[in-house]
Structures are given as C-alpha cells and as structure tokens.
C-alpha cells in the first residue's frame, strides 16, 4: 500500500515539475523575444486586422506549443496528465506578467532599449494594471490547454486543423503581397473586400480562409472514402503530381499579378531553383558534397558578361571577336561552366566526405579571389566588375522587366528540370546513385569512377552556369562580391531542406529559404534568425526534407509490415 502511495507521489511531483519547467521555458522564450525587440517589430504586422498581431500570435503560439509539448509521451513519462498543460500556461503567464510589470516599474532602457512601456502593453493585450495581467495569464492558460487538447486529438483531425490554421496565418502575415495580387484584376477586386480591409485580413476573411483550407485538407479523405477509387491506377499518378502542378500554376501566375517586386523575388527563387537542381545532381544523386558551387555560377555570369557587355572589358572591344547576343553567349556560358566543373572535379576526385566539403570550399574561394585579383583585373575588371550587360532580345522584344526575365528563368528551369528528371532515370543517374551508396562496389559493377564523378560535376556546373548567365543580364553587371560563399551554402541548405534528391523539394526549398527572407524583409537582420530557426526545425521535425524524394520516402514506407513501422512512416 505504502509503495503504491510513494509511486503516486513520485508521479505527482514529476507532473508538477514538468508543468512548471515547460511553463518557465516558454516564459523565457517570450521574454527573450521581447528583450531583443522582436516582439515590438512583430507587433507592427497584423495577422487579423485590429484583432491579432503577429506578436500576439507568436505569444499564443508559444503557450499553445507548451501545452502541446506537455502532453507528449516520452520514455520517462508514458502517461502525461492533462493538468500539466494549464499549469505550464499559468506559470508562463505569471512570469510574463511579472516581466511586464517589471518593465513598467523599473526603467531598464539604458541597457535593454527594447524594454519599453509599449512592450508591456503588448504583453498585457493593451489592458492596464491588474486586468491586463489577468488577461495575459488567462490567455496563456487557455492557449496551453488548447495545445494539450490539440495534441490529444486523433492524428486525422490534426491533419485538418494544422493546414487550415497555417493558411490563415500565411494569408494574414503576407497580406501586402496578396493584396497587390488581388488588385490586379476585376474578378479578384470583386471578392477582395470580403477578405481584406485596407489594414489587413478581416475577421470574417480569416474565418472564410480557415473554412476553405479545412475543406481542401479534408478533400483527400473524402475522395478516398468511396471504396476502390483510390486503388484505381488512373487516379494515383494524377493525385501525386497534383501538388506539383499547383505549384507550377502558382509560379506562372503570381509574378504577372504581383508586379515587378514579386517578379524580382520569384526571379531570384528561379535562379536558386536552377542552381539547386544542379547541386542536386552532384549531392543528391552522386553524393558529392560541394561548397564551391558558386564558382560555376560565377563562370556562367562572367562569360556572359565578357561576350555581351558594352564595356572596354568585353572581348569584342579588344579582339576581333564580335559582340555576342545573349542567346549565343548563354550556351557558351553553360559550356564554360561545364569545363570549369571538370577542372574543379579533377583535383578532388580522390577526396571523400568531410574532406571533399573543405576541398571544394577552398576551390570555390580560389575562383572568387582570382577573379578579384589585380592579376586578372585587365580581363575581368577586378573588384570593379564588368558593367553594361545588355538585356536579351527576341526581334523587337526586350527582356527588360523583371517579369519577362522571370519567365525566361522559368522556361530555363522547366527545361533543366526535364533534363534532371531524365538524368536521374538514366544509366548515368543510376551509376551516380550507386557511387553514392558504395564507391568500391560501384566500380566492381563496372562503373567508371573518374568519368562518372566528372560528369556529375559537369552537369551540376551546367545548371549553375545557366543560372549565372541569366543573373548577369538580370543585374546588368557582374562583381566578384556577388559570388560569396554564402550563395553556395544557401543552395546547399535549400536542397537539404527541400529533400535531397527530390526535384519538387528543390522548388519548395527555394521558395521557403529564398522567398521567406525576402517576404520578411522588414525584420531586417532578424530574418536570418527565422531562417536559422526554420532550418533547425526542418531538420529536427522532417529530417528527410519538406518534400522527400520518392526513393527516400520508399525507404521508410516499405518495411511497413508491422504497426511500429507504420508509425515511423507517418510524415
């Protein structure tokens, strides 16, 4: 009897501790966000106009997550009890309220410039004194309990609610972009007022979007219900490619509707998609980690510049070579990048794994430094770069605007995607995959190691060269400082986040990692914080990437014969 009592006490104190610790953790995060000034900045962006700002959403989300986490089973705690969630919410709310009153009573602004009375008001939802603190604590408890409830919902229901909530959040956060698009034609203008007021998403609009997104999320369940339909051969490939087609449609239409700024952002995304597809061949298929990838991009850009520019540095200026139009220069730029890829590959043929990363990093930097050097300055312009690169032309039409250049990039990307898709299924693609899996055995199978590796670098470089060529005409000029290491890292990050070896993953990764920082531009340097956070979260929660390659997905799903592996296959 007393043993049982002891056990009960032990469990009670453990639940109590869990609630207090998670609550305190949440309060710490909130206090941190407030102290660095992020909350004040987020407060300027409404999610639902006059109802909810991004800052308040973030605070509620923190409380919600705490409630959710408090209900997760772990090895130590197999049966979490519900009341830990409101307890955690209470602790978090009380600490945050204490923080708010601290800001109001003591002036710490000489040290922490962000600790202003408006921040305190923000924390207490605009209410003064004790009622504000009460509101904060109550909100925190409710949000944490909601999180706990959410965690206890069946998996299917969560899969409905999560996308719907995310849709509302995105539609609210990026209302400026969406409003620009909505103003572009009469049909949109007709229904826009239902969703958006001048200052952002309306409450009724938010609810409508929630309902629509809910319906969309429920669609797969509804379609599958009538027996046998899901099994029919015709519907399956269609359903698998439907999201990809949707993305493509979005890519086609958004820049027209969104105007030059959005087109510019999408153009940048398109260039990264091109490079991502190239690196995907190298890393995703052949397993060759390359941190000097930007060198190929730079090669494409510089060759285009030298051949087409109207500048003293152009070849046409000091040799008998005529000045090339863009369309003739682009293939040569791709060819040049291919040669660079092979040159690049030769010294690192025997290098593997981590060492390869360091070696390619060095090679990439060498290329940039050579371009920047005084020795190469008479040809490549040194740090001043090459200016006055003309825009491409077809007949009388000039690809002058960001929108038209975006479509050029899109066409190039679609062509490149087709090539990449074919390559992956070719003999060479299979050879790359085999090399990545086991170099020795691949050779024993009759694969030519040197040739296959060099071809991987060459093909990867071709894609980057194409992107570089478009980049050169996009900015009208090339400078060594445009080709930083960060670019290689961005490309690497986007294919890893998207899902190694997955073409759709490259597009999604570029949208998230290149598009998101642009969309969050008003947050200045903080956006890299989000960027880093997004990277870490993706790797923790979806280590196979946002859109894993079929090959990888299969690896997890196939062994699903028992209940345990079926759980592992859940996304």
């Amino acid at each position: 009897m007393s043993v049982q009592q002891d056990d009960l006490d032990g469990r009670l104190s453990r639940h109590l501790r869990r609630g207090i610790v998670t609550g305190a953790g949440a309060a710490l995060i909130a206090i941190y966000l407030g102290s660095v000034g992020l909350l004040a900045m987020m407060n300027a962006r409404p999610v639902v106009a006059n109802v909810l700002t991004l800052a308040q959403t973030a605070l509620l989300a923190i409380a919600f997550l705490v409630g959710l986490l408090s209900q997760r089973t772990s090895a130590k705690d197999r049966s979490p009890v519900f009341w830990t969630a409101p307890l955690a919410g209470l602790v978090a709310g009380l600490l945050a309220a204490g923080f708010a009153s601290l800001i109001l009573s003591i002036n710490l602004r000489s040290i922490f410039i962000a600790l202003t009375p408006p921040l305190a008001r923000l924390l207490t939802f605009g209410q003064p004194g004790i009622s504000g603190a009460g509101l904060l604590v109550a909100g925190s408890v409710v949000a944490a309990s909601a999180g706990a409830l959410y965690q206890r919902l069946p998996h299917k229901v969560r899969r409905l609610i999560f996308p719907a909530a995310l849709a509302v959040l995105l539609c609210g956060m990026f209302q400026e972009f969406i409003q620009v698009i909505l103003q572009s034609n009469a049909l949109f203008r007709w229904f826009a007022p239902w969703f958006y007021g001048w200052d952002g998403l309306t409450a009724r609009g938010g609810l409508t979007i929630f309902a629509i997104a809910l319906a969309f999320a429920a669609l797969p369940f509804l379609v599958r219900r009538p027996g046998g339909f899901a099994g029919s051969a015709g519907s399956h490939p269609w359903r698998r490619s439907a999201p990809a087609l949707l993305v493509l449609l979005l890519l086609l239409l958004v820049p027209i509707a969104g105007g030059p700024y959005i087109a510019q952002v999408f153009l940048l995304i398109g260039l990264y998609v091109l490079m991502g597809m190239g690196l995907n061949l190298e890393l995703g298929l052949a397993g060759l980690l390359d941190l000097g990838f930007v060198a190929f991009f730079a090669t494409g850009a510089y060759i285009t510049a030298i051949l087409t520019a109207d500048s003293p540095l152009a070849l046409a200026h000091y040799t008998a070579v005529p000045s090339f139009p863009f369309w003739a220069a682009m293939p040569l730029a791709v060819l040049g990048a291919v040669l660079m890829g092979i040159l690049f590959g030769i010294p690192v043929l025997g290098v593997k794994g981590d060492y390869l990363a360091v070696a390619t990093l060095g090679l990439g930097e060498i290329v940039r430094i050579v371009v920047q050097s005084d020795a190469a300055a008479p040809i490549l312009g040194g740090a001043q770069g090459i200016l006055q690169i003309p825009k491409p032309q077809i007949g009388g039409f000039q690809f002058g605007s960001a929108v038209s250049l975006f479509y050029l990039t899109l066409a190039a990307a679609i062509f490149a995607a087709y090539c990449a898709w074919r390559l992956e299924r070719s003999r060479l693609g299979r050879a790359w995959i085999a090399l990545r899996e086991d170099e020795d055995v691949a050779q024993a199978m009759g694969i030519n190691l040197v040739q296959s590796k060099l071809l991987a670098y060459a093909f990867g470089a071709a894609f980057a060269g194409l992107a570089g060529s478009i980049f050169a005409v996009m900015v009208n000029s090339v400078f060594p400082s445009s080709f930083q290491l960060l670019m290689s890292i961005n490309v690497l990050a986007l294919i890893v986040v998207g899902g190694l070896g997955s073409l759709s993953g490259v597009v999604l990764g570029a949208l998230v990692l290149i598009g998101l920082p642009e969309a969050l531009r008003e947050f200045g340097e903080f956006r890299y914080l989000f960027y880093g956070l997004a990277l870490i979260l993706t790797m923790r929660l979806m280590p196979e990437g946002l859109w894993p390659a079929g090959r990888r997905r299969r690896r997890i799903v196939v062994p699903a014969t028992g209940a345990r592996s079926a759980q592992a296959a859940r996304p």
Partner: protein
C-alpha cells in the same frame, strides 16, 4: 587459363598484407581460398578486382597483365566480385540492384532475360523485387549480392565470405547456390573462413596464413588433411 596470379605481394603502407601468392584458376572449376581472419584473402580478391594496387608480381587475365586496368575494365573482362559483407545498394530496390550488376552490358533484351532467370534461381527475390534492398534479411541480401554479380555474366565470380553472419541453414543454401552457379558454367573463386564447407565443394583449394599460401591441393584432399584440420578446425 582465365586468371593467373603469380608471386603477388600487397602492402598497405609499410605493412605487407600478402607475400608471394600464386593462384591459378582454370576454366570451369570452383577454387577455394581459405584461411583465418586477417590472412590476406580479401586483399587478394580486391587486388584481382583492381581495387588495390599490387606491389610485386603479376595478375594475368587471359594471359594479359591487368596492372594497367581500372576496376570497371576488369569487370568488363568478366572478372566480377561479390563483395564481403554483401554491400548491396541499400537504398535501391532489389530489381534495381540486379540491374546495377548488368551496368556494363548494353544488350537490353538479354539483361531482362537474365533478370528473370535470377528470379527463378532466387524465388524469394521475385517476391521482393520492388522492396528496398537494405530492408532484407542477411540471407536475402546475400542472394541479392550473388544475383547482382551474376547479372554481369561473369566468367569468374569472386565470392568474398558469402557465409559470413548467416544462420547455418542459410549457409547450406548459399553453398548449394554456388554449386548450381558453377554447374551452369561459371568459374568461381570462393574466399571463406568457413574452411570445411568451402573445401567440400571446391575442386581445387589454397590455404592462406599470415599473407602466404601454406597449402594447396584438391579440395577433397585438403578437407581431410591433418594440417588443415589442426589449424582451422581445432
């Protein structure tokens, strides 16, 4: 003579792994190379496959030295290895693994035929042809590795420790398969720690110890040889 190794030495840095080894492989037989762990058996196989350079001596394929050949060129001459520890392509499906084995061939119709033949030889693999090979059991993985090797239509199949890590019953099956492969006309060089079973099926055998060949003779004779028994079977 398909394959002839003469007085070959191998070294990893300053450490000599194999000293003065000579092995002759005549068309159509099963040749066993047995010895304890670390005797230099796998190194010898890898040298034949061109994966490690030889220090002294020579390896001749059809009378020509293979010193200048790259690993994939040796494979194309019909000398194909089934590596130790299986080493299948874990993320590829069973069928894709088999097709990798036929990588250097271009006769597509015959490749498809051979693949179907492999599925007859290993019905288990047919059931699992779309399954990712890394999720198979050890015995099934050995089947994949063997079938993958055979897909190259080898003249000599170099099998490195095919019984390693397998249950006794499965080991029996593996050795039965080896005999069946040989009966169908493929020469086999079998490297094994499991000396007794290897010697039973070998037409000719070599015993290796500390990087040198210490005994040589017909498999059946060596299987009852006192020295072999005392060294390896205790």
């Amino acid at each position: 003579m398909i394959l002839e190794i003469e007085n070959m030495s191998l070294a990893y840095g300053n450490i000599e792994a194999v000293r003065g080894v000579s092995i002759k492989i005549v068309d159509g037989g099963i040749v066993a190379l047995v010895g304890a762990n670390g005797a230099g058996k796998s190194s010898t196989l890898n040298a034949i496959s061109g994966l490690i350079p030889i220090k002294n001596g020579s390896i001749r394929i059809d009378g020509q030295s293979s010193a200048a050949l790259k690993p994939h060129e040796i494979t194309r001459r019909g000398i194909v290895q089934v590596p130790e520890g299986r080493r299948i392509f874990g993320r590829l499906s069973v069928e894709e693994n088999l097709l990798m084995g036929a990588f250097s061939r271009t006769d597509h119709a015959a490749i498809a035929e051979d693949r179907d033949h492999m599925f007859e030889l290993f019905p288990r693999l047919k059931e699992r042809r779309r399954q990712v090979a890394g999720t198979l059991s050890g015995g099934e993985q050995q089947m994949v590795a063997t079938a993958r090797g055979l897909m190259a239509r080898p003249r000599v199949l170099l099998m490195d420790e095919p019984s390693m890590g397998l249950a006794p019953l499965v080991v029996e099956q593996v050795f039965d398969t080896i005999q069946a492969i040989n009966a169908a006309g493929t020469t086999v060089l079998l490297v094994e720690q499991n000396a007794l079973m290897a010697l039973e099926i070998a037409h000719h055998a070599y015993v290796m110890e500390h990087g040198e060949i210490v005994l040589e003779g017909p498999g059946a004779e060596l299987a009852v040889d006192e020295r072999v028994v005392s060294i390896y079977l205790g």
